[in-house]
Assembly symmetry: C3
Homo-oligomer: 211 residues x 3
């Protein structure tokens, strides 16, 4: 745990975003403080937990409890401060933080799978996407909301693009330090997702069914 | 497996309660006997299975198949005897048995996490709560019912209180035999939850949002 | 991985069926291509992944990526070709392929549990059924559809019958080569399920509640 670490702070920002969006999603259902905290924590750590169970390694939050504390505190603040957060501006901020989170978790998880030489080259892609969306899908399923996978927003596309790009770049430029490639791919994934939020981009028509 | 063991019988009572409440929850959806049994078993062993997968240890029911047999038989009886069980008195009894189950599973799981020195001190709390509610959440999600986490009943609160108290007491009184502390905390958790059932207690207002 | 292997091809046919039925199930919800592929893959590999996590062994698709590729390609074809597939004849074909898949996965998983001597004799039955229905339940839960466990179709019954028969035959005829017993039980399970599809068989009345 290195507090001077920029990626570490980004990961925590993503954790905050996941917890907060989860609490905001379940508040209209009339949840109490404890339920909200459980939902916030499960959403924030759910994706990575599924990843680590599939990889058969120790769950990541067992080694660094900050993930739990940060999700807990973020959930409490989101619960009591929900009026502020559902304000349009704060909601947009949350969407951007969520974009930071999924971009980070996507590349981090792919990295973890690569380091373990897990089911190359499909494993890193699949685990990256599962980690990034796992928490959110769990949140929607427990809350009884339509899953984010079912929406027409550009959500799964930037993730898939970002992680496939990551694998290609690692392969094509073995001499470039991996950290530079990781950071670039996190940034690119975030940029596509952020553009989708900013300009309200929809999934291209050929990816939808003409009904 | 020790049939003279009082906690063991309590754990089985909890297993029965989990299986029965699951079957009663899905019967209005028009389920058949086999589906009901699968639901009953998944609910009864679901929470502990998730816990053991996170802890990366052998699932508890692999060592003691009684958990499966008891859930199976309880599910069959609940299925055919559902008219009796939905009676107000039997339903209340089920709620109390469920309270026994969650109190037992809560402290047992915290104990297991402590013994494995897993992510102290947050791990035992989180795993305790996840085990206690895991089966019920799975049940509600598969049945398409609103999750128990979403209800205003005093459910998550006694659990969190009980397991945090457990950790505090273990820390404060190292000279007291752990079994006494365990039993006390199971009893206290049950007592709070049972009071909530008996007097129909709701979550305190400051834990809800003034809407 | 042996392409000349008949069971291997059957398993792949089952994988195709699982992916395709998943995509067809979520298309009415207005999903895009990427979401459809994620749903298809999760449904196709979900049951086996849960099984391997419970057995605490490496997930099956890590060793043989064909499972992922086949689900991916099947999902894409199902997505764009959905008009053809929802045709009555193709839909029936899918139901039969699904029957092949669940019969295969059922017996394969029971076999795997037996080989690992896991929680005999209940473990193989439970893991067989969980693997066979796991993907489909996950699909229905994420898609927000009523779970297949809740339907009155003869679905869980042939599975339970097939896997219990498998264990009995292995016990009664130790001198018969296991492959013959496996193949017979896959065939019998498929036959019962296929009869249920063909003659639209319902769960026997004593397995339902007289309401």
């Amino acid at each position: 745990m290195d507090f001077n670490d920029f990626p570490y702070f980004l990961g925590m920002a993503g954790t905050v975003a996941f917890a907060v969006t989860a609490v905001l999603a379940v508040i209209p259902k009339g949840i109490d403080l404890f339920g909200a905290c459980v939902m916030g924590i499960i959403t924030a750590i759910g994706g990575g937990t599924i990843r680590d169970m599939i990889l058969d390694v120790e769950v990541f939050w067992a080694k660094d409890l900050n993930y739990i504390w940060v999700s807990l505190i973020a959930s409490i603040i989101a619960f009591y401060g929900n009026r502020l957060m559902t304000g349009k501006k704060t909601y947009k901020l949350m969407l951007y933080l969520d974009a930071v989170g999924i971009s980070m978790f996507l590349i981090q998880s792919a990295r973890k799978a690569i380091d373990l030489d897990f089911a190359m080259p499909v494993g890193p892609v699949l685990l990256g996407v599962i980690t990034a969306i796992g928490g959110g899908v769990t949140r929607d399923v427990i809350a009884g909301n339509p899953s984010l996978l079912m929406k027409k927003e550009l959500y799964a596309v930037p993730l898939t693009f970002g992680v496939v790009l990551y694998l290609f770049l690692l392969q094509l430029f073995p001499e470039v330090p991996p950290t530079i490639i990781s950071t670039s791919c996190i940034f690119i994934t975030f940029l596509i997702r952020a553009s989708a939020i900013h300009w309200n981009l929809q999934v291209p028509k050929w990816m939808l069914l003409r009904q």
